[in-house]
Every structure is written in structure tokens, then in C-alpha cells.
Amino acid sequence: MTEIIKDPQMPQLFDLTGRVAVITGGTGLLGRQHALALGHAGAKVVLLDLPGSKPNLVAQQLSQTEQFAAIGIAGDITCEEEVEAAALKVLQHFGRVDILINNAANNPKMEGTLGIAWSRLENFPLAVWQADLAVGLTGAFLCSRVFGREMARQRAGVILNIASDLALISPDQRLYRQAGVPEDQQPVKPVTYPVIKSALLGLTRYLATYWAEAGVRVNSISPGGVANAQPEDFVQKLRQLIPLARMARIDEYQGAVLFLCCDASSYMTGANLVIDGGRTCW
């Protein structure tokens, strides 16, 4: 069980010194940001990602430029043996695991793309459905099982699932429309993305209750879209759906990630933090 902190002074409240954090999809756009949030708070960081994304190299660069301990592990989280092997490596290298961020997901960019009628529900290939679920959902399950088991054994730990505002609302397909494209060719956000992200909320609540007495807390965040050089007309349309009238900056989820991974949130479990500029509140 996490000790109750009697003194709400920040440095201790948000301190992760000595803790080991595993981040799936750790080399990605947001995965790297999660690493920065936890690493700067004192955690040792493990970037778990596919070999093609060069997790070793990214971790090496991170630890050099940011001055915290980071290692990369190449592995496929959809494969049971590889997740077990990754856990072994983490334990061999750092001796423990305290934090797991289930961040990995396939997220194909639909804005500004043409000729991708395959993403439409009528055409959506079963193979893509299965591949997307394998990464976003089965991967989160396998990593939670393997790394969460270690946390439950040491009677302390935190799992953070990265959901999405699309876990709460459906994609507004009008955002992705292209002028002059026939109806049956219009690009859409694929069905798998909101399905997986919604399911992660269920996984969050299940794990939170399942391991509550073992001292493992499980929460999720539901971030909105991050500004990443999307086409201007897409951004203009999206802005109108958001009270703060903008997409998120890349570093704006670091506060929530750190908060949920440290003792500042010691009484929080099974919760979902929605950070969407207000998109779902009206």
C-alpha cells in the first residue's frame, strides 16, 4: 500500500525517485512525452517498442540529452513470449517495476488523406481490425498481466492506460471530409480506434478493482488530439468542437501522466481523466 503523505509539499508528492516505469509505444509521439514526464520526476524509464522504431537508440538519446536513466527494449507486445521476455529484461536491469503506461496503439492519420476507402466501415478489412485490436487492446492486457503481476507481488504499483476523447464520444466524421470526393470514397476515422479506447476504460476499471487490495492502482487518461502539423482546414473544423478552441500542445499531457503515476494520486483508482480542451463537456 502506498503510504499516506502527511505533508502535501510538492517535491515529495510528485517524486518518482527509485521507481521504474515501462512505457509501451515508448518511441512514439506521446510515448516520448510520457518518458520525459516520468524521467524528470526521477523515474528510470523503459521504452518498449517494435524493433523498427529503434527503442534502444531513442532511449540512449533520451538519457544523454535529458540526464535520466532510460533503456529501450525491442519487442512486440502482441506476443506473449516477447512481453514475458521484456519483463525479464526490466527486472534484470532495474530489479523492479513500479509503473506501466499502456500507450501503444495503431493510429492511422485520416485527416488530409485521399483514396483510403479501405478505412470506411463497409470495406474495413478484418485483418486490420485484428491487427489494431492486437496492439491496442491485447497488448495492454498482456502487459498489464505480466507487469501488473510483479507490482501485485511487491504490493505497490501503478498502471496508466492511455485512452482518448474518442473513448467517450464517436469520431465526428465530418472532420475528415474532403471536398469533391464521392461519398463512398470519403476518408473516415477507422472503427477500431474508438472501440479500443472505450475498451481500455473497461480494462482500467476491471484491473483497478481486481488489484485494489494488492496495492496496484489503475487509472486512465482520455486526451484530445495533439497539434502535429495537420492540414489547416481540418484544424479549423476541429477547433469549433472544442471550448478552448485549439488542439493540445504535445507536452500538455505530462502533468496528468505524472500525477496519476505518483503518490499525489494515492486515493485515485479506476478513474479516467479527460483532457480534451472541453470537447466532451458541451
Binding site: I4, I5, K6, D7, P8, Q9, M10, P11, L13, F14, D15, L36, A37, H40, A41, R205, A208, T209, A212, E213, G224, I242, P243, L244, A245, A248, R249, D251, E252, Y253, Q254, G255, A256, L258, F259, C262, D263, A264, S265, S266, Y267, M268, T269, G270, A271, L273, V274, I275, D276, G277, G278, T280, C281, W282
Partner: protein
Amino acid sequence: MSLQAEKLFSLAGKTVVLTGASGYLGRTFSRALLENGARLVALGRSDRLMSEVQGWQQEFGKDRVAAHQIDMYDLDKLDALLDAITQCEPRIDVIINNAHELGPQTGFNTPAGSLENASFDQWNRHFLGGLYCPTRIVQKLGVKMKEAKIGSIINISTMYALVAPSPSLYEGTELLNPPGYSASKAALLSYTRYLAAFWGGHGIRANAILPGPFSNVEDSGSNSVAKDNPFLDRLKSRTCLKRIGHPTELAGCLLYLASDASTYMTGQALVVDGGWTIV
């Protein structure tokens, strides 16, 4: 923007207005704000406010805390106070609406507060103190936030805005959680979303915190619970974490919402309930 936790969650240079500052949660909120650099404008009704503030001023410096003892039910006085705060505070960055009357006059822990018996006056006090006063504070002090084009408003609601208290918790005890509490706190959530939607374009964020069981086991007032009261065991067993919360366990959430760590969050309700509402 610095991403060091100490700076990310810092309130240095920010002025925070907090109501109910000397209450059970308010005292810890005050300390969390002060320890992390804020200037605190503390509002409260009880005499305890002044003694608490004296201690904080000694510890953090006289200029770091302003105290205003006020009974917010006196709406004329409240307006006059808000005007005075607007005049003398150069900036207001954060408003925390934390005050709520938890006593016999709002029907707590008395048969007179039950669903069958709750009076107009009790209902009125819930909605006047728990809903209208926060909206009036935001109307008046929010002008400064709109001018500055930045601000964070935090409304303290409760998990009972989402789920009802279970009657079996109270069976055989003198305790009672009245219907006006749930209803006014749920209304505060709607108001939070409305505020977020209409003032988002002004750079002002509005969010709520929904605490679960944070029973006051430290004082001996009308809303406190003795440490050996079996009611506490019922509360504990209803949570996933099998314990009640300590006020310091809301401090992290409060700092997150008050600071620049949450600049893209608005219109939300953060549940800190040990898992009460997920099962």
C-alpha cells in the same frame, strides 16, 4: 515551459481565492497552495479562520495570506467583499469554490434532513451556499480573469453528484446525508461544464473535484465522525482501496488543476474516491 514537476505544478506568483478555507478539507487545501508558492485569499465563516491564517502568515509571510471572515449567506456582504477583493488584489488566477454548509441547518445528521422531512429552508441553504454563491464569486472575480485572458476555476463537488448515498450506510446511526447535498453538488457540475463552454474562449478553465469518503475524523464539530464509529467501517468496505481518504490525498489533484500542469483540461470532473463509483 518547464516540465520539472516542481515547476510544472508550481503556483508561484499566482493568487488563489479559496472559500471554506478553515474547514476540514480547506485547511489542507490552504497549506498545499501556500507550500507551493501561491498567494492565498482565504474566505471562511468560523472564528477558526483567523487563528489558522495567523499561523500561516507566521510560517509563509504576512503578504502571502489575506483573510476575509464572511457569512456568504449574507449576499450583500458577499458582494461588497468581492468588490473589495477585486479592487485590492492585482490579479486572481485561481478560484476554488470549496465552502458548503454541512450541519443541521442543511439537514446533515438529523431526521429533519431526510428525504421525507427536508424543508424549504434546508434546500434553499444547499442551493444558495453551494451553488449560487460560487456563481456569484465567479461572476464578480471572473471579470479579472477575463481581462487577463487566463484563469482556473475549481469547484469542489462530491461523488454523491454521480451516485446516491446508500441508505444502508446510515442504518442504526445518527448520521444522515441529505438529498439537497447530492442535488446541489450535481448542479455544481452542470454549472462547471457551462462555465467551461462559455468562457473557454477567454482562456478560462473550469473543472470539478469529486471527493469520495473523506470523513472528518479529526474535529468534534457537527460534521465529524468519531474514529471508532462503525459507520467508518461501512464506508471503508464500500471502497476498492478499503479505507477512507485523507485530505492530503486531494492536494495533488488540487495542485494539478490550479497549476499550468492542466492547461488543456476544462469542463471535467475528477473523481478521487478510492474506487467507490466504479463498482
